[in-house]
Symmetry: C2
Subunit: 592 residues, 2 copies
Amino acid sequence: MQVLRTHTCGELGRLHIGKEATLCGWVDSYRDHGGGLFIDLRDRYGMTQVVFNPPDTPPAIIEESKSLRAEYVVQVIGRVAERPSGMANPKLSTGEIELRVTGFKLLNKSQTPPVSPNANAQDLPNEELRLEHRYLDLRRAVMQKTLMLRDRIVKGMRDYFAELDFIDVETPILGRSTPEGARDYLVPSRISRGAFYALPQSPQLYKQILMMAGYDRYVQVARCFRDEDLRADRQPEFTQLDLEMSFVDADDVMGVIDGLVAKLAKQELGLDVKLPLPRMTYDEAMERFGHDAPDLRFGLELVDCTDLAAKSDFRVFSSVAASGGRVRAINAKLGTEHYSRRGIDALTEYVAAFGAKGLAWFRVEEDGSLSSTIAKNFTPELLKEFGIRLKAEPGDLLLFVADEWKVTCKALHALRSKIGAEMKLYDPRAMHFSWVVEFPMFDFDDEEKRWVAMHHPFTSPRDQDFDLLKGDPGKCRAKAYDLVINGSEAGGGTIRIHDPGIQQTVFSLLGIDEHTAEQRFGFLLRALGYGAPPHGGIALGIDRWVMLFAGLDNIRDCIAFPKTQRASDLMTGAPGEVESKQLKELGIRIER
Amino acid sequence: MQVLRTHTCGELGRLHIGKEATLCGWVDSYRDHGGGLFIDLRDRYGMTQVVFNPPDTPPAIIEESKSLRAEYVVQVIGRVAERPSGMANPKLSTGEIELRVTGFKLLNKSQTPPVSPNANAQDLPNEELRLEHRYLDLRRAVMQKTLMLRDRIVKGMRDYFAELDFIDVETPILGRSTPEGARDYLVPSRISRGAFYALPQSPQLYKQILMMAGYDRYVQVARCFRDEDLRADRQPEFTQLDLEMSFVDADDVMGVIDGLVAKLAKQELGLDVKLPLPRMTYDEAMERFGHDAPDLRFGLELVDCTDLAAKSDFRVFSSVAASGGRVRAINAKLGTEHYSRRGIDALTEYVAAFGAKGLAWFRVEEDGSLSSTIAKNFTPELLKEFGIRLKAEPGDLLLFVADEWKVTCKALHALRSKIGAEMKLYDPRAMHFSWVVEFPMFDFDDEEKRWVAMHHPFTSPRDQDFDLLKGDPGKCRAKAYDLVINGSEAGGGTIRIHDPGIQQTVFSLLGIDEHTAEQRFGFLLRALGYGAPPHGGIALGIDRWVMLFAGLDNIRDCIAFPKTQRASDLMTGAPGEVESKQLKELGIRIER
């Protein structure tokens, strides 16, 4: 029942042959064949070949059609015809037919586009130009495919949670600043001079309030904001699937997300994911992979050799072992083929960026013996022990970092990722989903000399760890769980504290005194006093899910109108100057 | 598969009798019956009667249960039993059973709530206290019902548009200030000192860009922001169902919304709405009802009597008619019964607030003659003509306003609404949906002595009115359409300009010079130059839809965490003070 067209450009096929149709779209390409013109007419749904040729097309229209150029917008009326034999295009859903034009209207012209919607990847201009002309960049098939994937993922999530009786509740964007964690974006209030709203870093407190208000299961696709210095995969505003459940423990929340993963992996990737998803504690993840979001698409696990290192005459090893540090290694199977001496030097330089002071290595020779420039510092028996520990076989490359525990984690995690990619240890299109659970409650901030919350201050300790809160906070483990996809944290959640007393204890451990707690979280503390249910939840990073599901590596390609790393929108020019009248009304002044 | 409960409080019924169940919830009420305790256990899903009584309940638990108070949170394990005969409660889905407790755990205590979740409407504390303790207020059944209705309305909208191939695209919250229309909320940028983002008043420009980018059909449930002095039914942040379509005319957009109205009216109200929804031009609406969003649940239409008034000796009438004003009337059928002389005085006072200098009236007597204190200024023949014009019958009350056209519209619209309500001319639960179309393009701002856009500067004139743009802008009508529900504007949209030349013409008519246009809308103008399709859309006010569908009259009752009319959140205290360090980082200072 549409006024301007009868069909889309992806719709006509054999069964329309002989019928009349009206299409609207963009000239994707055009070919002048002397007597007439062929255009590929494009819209979101597909492409249809449109033919301006006598005798179907009146001469005046053929004449007019000659002025058509790429990206002109046209309406064409015509008869659907079978393409001449041998001219069918099996790649197109409309590839068997063409529209022979009888009527025509030019709807709009286009200047020559600086970003060509049908350019190949290698012909694309730089990202700045693409972002500046986002209306053209968004016409590219890959962008449209990604945004449609995003639409389906979000719709799939919403439908899934609606089925499970979750209620979608909108929480405010104009909130209150709680300077715990990242930096807030602030919004000056005109009515309350000198006061500010803050944009939410997450709907955390509101969703907990909703549980205390009895909503039982809450879900929202929530926009969140962080005014941080941006890394490549961060945006000042980002979107999370945010949920919270009452009367649950960690297993319930993970179980619900397991089902979501299975649904979307099937829907979008055709994968049958086995449930429950594998779970690993934080301690195990750090021990085996040096990282709390390990990429489980491949092995290359970390192996502790501190006990062996302690027995060596190699001072770097023995002194680290003696001073409470760790000597850990990975065995790059058949790595000697891949890494020459120069290759190993490059790896050494690489791990230096992660704090490692060096990279010790051994090659495993044909006879199984270990060779290295440092081999002379080890007895043959000890070398044999190393070989056994690391399951060394001829051709393997053994790589060691000796340092404080944290440094060995960082450096070996980075090394493992690099070698995994370089030696192609996994299919880049493979998808691996898993959980990391039981994170530490607290992390000791060496600079500020105080405990900080590893997740956030509302996270509940494990029941068996309540006593550790006062005794040994560093050992205290949380009811926390992170969803990991291919080595990326794709979501994280916790069971929250629902007991006002425990909440106070955690606040004081974090150095948040009663006055500050009242000022920042007073309403939450009060709400806890009126019958708060046990509750917990999770947030999933939608931008990242889309990136992982699309197999892309630039988060800006997963967002319709992203910001640059300088947090600006190159198309609109935001942020921009405002009129002094606006600032005056707000009662603020710019410091020069 | 839940850890803490096997069922919700709304789930157990006859078919569970004899089975064991574990419930969690809030103590809604409790009755101590000597030997034991009855509690109504509540959650979002319902209420279940829970009985602590020997011999099922161990003595220790009975003892413990005696400390239970309202809003305590408990977990109870027990056996489902049929209620003793005569004790069933047919109002509850769980009314035939009770849970006889065998196991019990107190999950949390509650202080005495200052807002009682099961209070009757008349026992509710004032709104300020409710908003301050929103976590308690949101436990009330009516709030939960409204937010669940909201969830279903939004889900229903999303599903409807997904079916129709609309793609949900998120547009930025951190945008660019375009000081056309309402006042923007601003967000200072830390990275670009002195520059500001603005929160969107609507995704207008982004959705037009999406059409130019070929997305064809876009939809979003979008948060929008306006820093205005708030009226009772306005919020600083509000939610709209925002959509845009390519290659469409007004009929297409209205047709799509017609289908949505029919779906939701059926789903939520059980109504069969006849489609297409009635349409009326702006000119007709103003003529018949004095308002562009007329309440069509009742008649009481405005009738023009200027020609008759011109013939009278009543100076108020004749002078207004002579000076180009209007004399218009409504006939309140059988209104003489309802309005005594004092009642009419009250109406006169009421219309004065809308600028009317007076309210002339006639009663229609038993014999059909018109009587009034001003009757002597009219010949009997003329009075008869008035009677015929207004279809006067005995008992009717005829009410006249003589003034400039605008004043007669305002005053008589207000009068019509008041009389309609007071005389109960409609069922307050009735729902009437209609369209008002073809609004003027421009409104002349008498203060600023210039044309302003009636909708926004991107609205297309009707094709036949292009020439009026330059000749007589006041007569130019737009491709604009408003959805009206029960006299409220529930949505509004337009077909947009897709021709860069016409866009420039409209800008210059609005006094937006080339430089300003470039600065504010440069990217849109540029995008128009690269093949923009004809397009148009609409935005529906979701907060208001919920209010109308729920039959409520306070918009704050339709929003989980609303702001007051001073734009503050009484629960969190937003907006609040921030630390001077935060302002310093942003490079702004508060003016004292």
